[in-house]
């Protein structure tokens, strides 16, 4: 069964396009709140062994600075976790954009803002993706953690995986100096479900 946990080029392309549409509308919601213009990136899709996740993330993220990580469990046929990662300065810049003064920006305020952004961005992206692949999802309350090294990511994930499908996309505001990334990790059975649904969509075209 594990050998089927791969996506061919067409399946990847299809998932990337679904993700592009889902993330596009979620980002529009955020930019409306922030009254800012986001530069959208092309979503990246990858399936890796779960034990490679740590080294993958250490390559993807710059751990020279403190990052705030918000994790939220996704429940349903599409089961797994989403992880919103933002460096602390970017989170502060969002707080300023929300109208907070420098002396008002403390860890508690930052955590609150990151949780709100996670809720809007992740929930609406994944809900739309779930709708496109004919399923429903529910979310647990997100948890938040500040980390300054990749080792602190150890045991941070709620679910245990064999293989993970990584869907990642960036939130980048050109004029605001805000950079963040959204990762979606799903379990083996979910990957198989996604694969089946992608092929159904591909058959229509």
């Amino acid at each position: 069964m594990k050998s089927d946990i791969t996506l061919n080029e067409d399946e990847k392309d299809c998932l990337q396009e679904l993700m592009n549409v889902a993330y596009g509308s979620a980002t529009a919601a955020i930019t409306e709140i922030l009254d800012a213009f986001a530069k959208l990136s092309i979503p990246k899709i990858q399936i890796i062994n779960a034990d490679e996740l740590k080294s993958y993330l250490s390559k993807e993220l710059n751990f020279n600075v403190e990052h705030i990580i918000s994790l939220q469990q996704i429940n349903g046929t599409l089961c797994g976790e989403n992880m919103f990662v933002i460096d602390k300065q970017s989170a502060k810049n969002i707080a300023y954009k929300f109208g907070l003064e420098e002396d008002e920006v403390n860890d508690e305020e930052i955590a609150d803002i990151v949780l709100e952004i996670t809720n809007i961005l992740s929930s609406s992206t994944i809900s739309k993706l779930a709708e496109d692949i004919d399923t429903n999802v529910s979310f647990s309350a997100p948890t938040i953690k500040t980390i300054s090294s990749i080792d602190q990511l150890k045991n941070i994930f709620i679910s245990k995986y064999e293989k993970v499908i990584i869907i990642s996309t960036q939130l980048k505001f050109e004029d605001l100096d805000i950079n963040a990334e959204l990762f979606i990790f799903t379990t083996d059975n979910s990957i198989l479900y996604i694969k089946e649904k992608l092929n159904k969509i591909l058959d229509e075209f």
Binding site: V21, Y23, G24, S25, T31, E32, L40, I42
Partner: protein, 123 residues
């Protein structure tokens, strides 16, 4: 009628082409490009009647491709099809001279309306 469909996603291009073929009964000649640079090069070569252009693409994005196509041919009819539905993006492409904007996923009614508008203008 020559139509150029530009998107880095093969599936997105197929969706646009299927929608076009469902709507347009006449013979259409469809060309495909995977990024803005390819679209620009193809535009200069084949001079299509309509260009459908995505915004988020590698090599050259849709904003730059639109700018370059309009620079080459001010009368080019470029319709943006994108998931980037930020008001600023929509305003920007219309300012750059896009004929219209269709949000993804494509609504065939909207596509039909835009094709009708283009036809009326051409008559």
């Amino acid at each position: 009628m020559k139509i150029l469909v530009t998107d880095d996603s093969k599936m997105a291009r197929k969706m646009v082409i299927k929608t076009l073929k469902d709507i347009i009964q006449d013979d259409i000649e469809i060309h495909e490009a995977q990024n803005g640079q390819e679209a620009l090069d193809l535009y200069k070569k084949i001079l299509p009647n309509i260009v459908f252009l995505d915004l988020t693409m590698p090599v050259m994005d849709g904003f730059d491709a639109l700018k370059e196509i309009k620079k080459f041919d001010n009368k080019a009819k470029v319709v943006i099809i994108s998931a980037d539905i930020q008001k600023l993006s929509v305003d920007k492409v219309l300012e750059l001279g896009a004929f219209n904007f269709i949000k993804k996923p494509i609504d065939s009614v909207k596509m039909q309306q835009i094709l009708d508008k283009i036809n009326k203008r051409d008559k």
